[in-house]
Amino acid sequence: MSLRPDLQIIFDWIPSGARILDLGSGDGTLLAALQKHDVTGYGLEIDNSQIAHCIESGINVIQADLDQGLPQFADQSFDYVILSQTLQAVKRPDFLLDEIIRVGKQAIIGFPNFGHWQCRLQLVFGGHMPISRTLPNRWYDSVNIHLCTIKDFENLCTDKQVHIQQRCIVDHAHQDSLGIKIAPNLFGEIALYQIKKSD
């Protein structure tokens, strides 16, 4: 079974044998795939309807609300904490980032880039909140309440003294391009970061 492209990138970054915490684990696909490579850990998922799917995928899942932080987990208790496409949907992304780097020795965070040129054009010339392939909801019914750009996220990392170990900026098809290389915040649609607390 092939993984969704952003999950494939995350999958490739995680070494076998790692202990992980997958925040917003959905139906458990990523953790289930990783478990075949001796990765262990838990998924956290707020949506009750996904719990049965997680069980079917064979993962341990804890129903929890990320807005409450991660008080159930001890400092540095996971090799990796993963947060894919969820940062923009929490009440306080900055608090969650604190929690992630407290609990994880390393973390992988992926989010849709609000600085993409199409978003910028829609706001500047259309005069309305952007709707795109990666952000399909309208402003009033969107779960994405804290959208950010690549620059915003990197600034937050600087403020929090979070060290960026690697990043991967791609388009909606998860392809790299010359444009993205030259101006990632303008041409990148999805950003993935591997981060850790600065030593």
Binding site: I55, I62, Q63, Q72
Partner: protein, 383 residues
């Protein structure tokens, strides 16, 4: 009464009795020289005895968990909606066992049984039994059924506490544990409710210090009141509102103290029928077993230390409107398991029915239950 037995029922069932002559020493220090354990079993035990499931009952439950005793039965067993062919605990795959706990009043030795020393019912002289004692006696039943390891031990409420105690006390004897609508221990409020229930029973003039049997009577009022109180704690405000609201039995209010609201009528009916069926001394014992339950106490109060013994994989389920054992209490169990890196899955089911939700066929709850038991089945039947 069923016109015909539904296809997904375990069918007509006869309880079985295991008579044990080896004395059992209870946690309170007293011993029973001999005792009976009444149980029911459904499905077939496989050759390696790897497909057995133990169901632990709650406060007023018994061994009759699924199917019918006769064609005249009004209702099937108390958890029939999860046990049977094709149901969450699928009897096509599993051998399911449920027993009446020691101290009960439905066949297993308890206060209504004859005390061999006096040739009269034990009554209040029946020793206090605890969750630990139940686990111990359930393990004796398992030995007698040649079940070395349960595929899963499953329970809700007080049953969930027994399941948890199994996983802590006899970790190698179960592969999975399902702890539903339970708590690591009772809160002061929980104990307070139990104490009001006990006070109601003991205050009934017909109680006779527990020797009501020799006075040929029953403390119906006291036990009924205890049940009324308990019943309120099993339901949520929402559930009661949905079911009864402020509906009156007659068109208008009467400015009197007779039953006027439907909820009053319901509670009175429930309490009266319960008081005829259940033994007051057993009710006292069961509430004490609840109050005493505290697996951390054997580990200097450290609950994480207690659950560190667990080898079974765990499924913990709570219900949003359960205020008797709220989701926060289940989360305490989950957090302790997480702190010990145990295999655990946790679900909090959106349900309006309060504590009682664990007994009800709520689709999302049953989806999770079914998915989990399928996983258990796939482990015991690798083909």
């Amino acid at each position: 009464m069923p016109d015909s037995i539904p296809a997904n029922s375990v069918g007509l069932i006869s309880p079985q009795t295991l008579h044990i002559e080896t004395p059992i020493t209870l946690e309170c220090g007293q011993a029973l020289p001999a005792y009976d354990l009444v149980f029911e079993a459904y499905g077939k035990l496989n050759q390696t005895a790897s497909n057995a499931i133990l169901i632990c009952h709650a406060l007023s439950g018994d061994h009759h968990v699924a199917g019918y005793h006769t064609m005249e039965d009004k209702k099937p067993g108390w958890w029939d909606n999860v046990i049977g062919p094709g149901k969450a605990i699928d009897t096509n795959h599993f051998f399911v066992v449920c027993l009446n706990n020691l101290g009960g009043c439905n066949g297993s030795t308890g206060p209504t049984s004859i005390n061999p020393d006096t040739n009269t019912p034990y009554g209040p002289d029946f020793p206090i039994v605890t969750v630990n004692d139940w686990v111990k006696s359930q393990a004796i039943l398992a030995d007698n059924l040649n079940i070395q390891q349960w595929a899963a031990v499953v329970g809700g409420s007080l049953g969930g506490m027994q399941a948890m105690q199994w996983a802590i006390s006899l970790p190698e004897r179960l592969k999975h544990v399902l702890i539903i609508a339970a708590t690591p221990k009772l809160s002061a409020q929980n104990i307070a409710f139990n104490e009001v229930a006990r006070t109601a029973i003991k205050a009934d003039p017909e109680f006779h210090e527990g020797y009501y049997a020799s006075h040929d009577t029953l403390p119906r009022k006291g036990l009924g009141l205890a049940r009324m109180l308990g019943h309120i704690t099993y339901l949520s405000d929402e559930a009661m509102g949905e079911k009864f609201g402020r509906e009156l039995r007659h068109d208008s209010i009467n400015y009197g103290f007779d039953v006027e609201f439907q909820i009053e009528s319901y509670l009175r009916y429930q309490s009266e029928s319960f008081a005829e069926q259940f033994d007051a001394n057993t009710y006292l014992l069961m509430t004490k077993a609840l109050d005493y339950f505290d697996p951390a106490s054997a580990f200097e109060g450290d609950f994480a230390q207690a659950v560190s013994k667990i080898q079974a994989k765990c499924l913990v389920i709570s219900f949003t409107t359960d205020w008797r054992f709220s989701p926060e209490r289940s989360q305490e169990i989950v957090n302790a398991l997480l702190s010990e890196n145990k295999e655990v899955t946790y679900a909090e089911i959106e349900a309006t029915q309060g504590h009682d939700a664990f007994l009800l066929p709520i689709s999302r709850y049953h989806d999770i239950f079914t998915a989990y038991m399928k996983k258990v089945a796939s482990e015991v039947m690798p083909s």
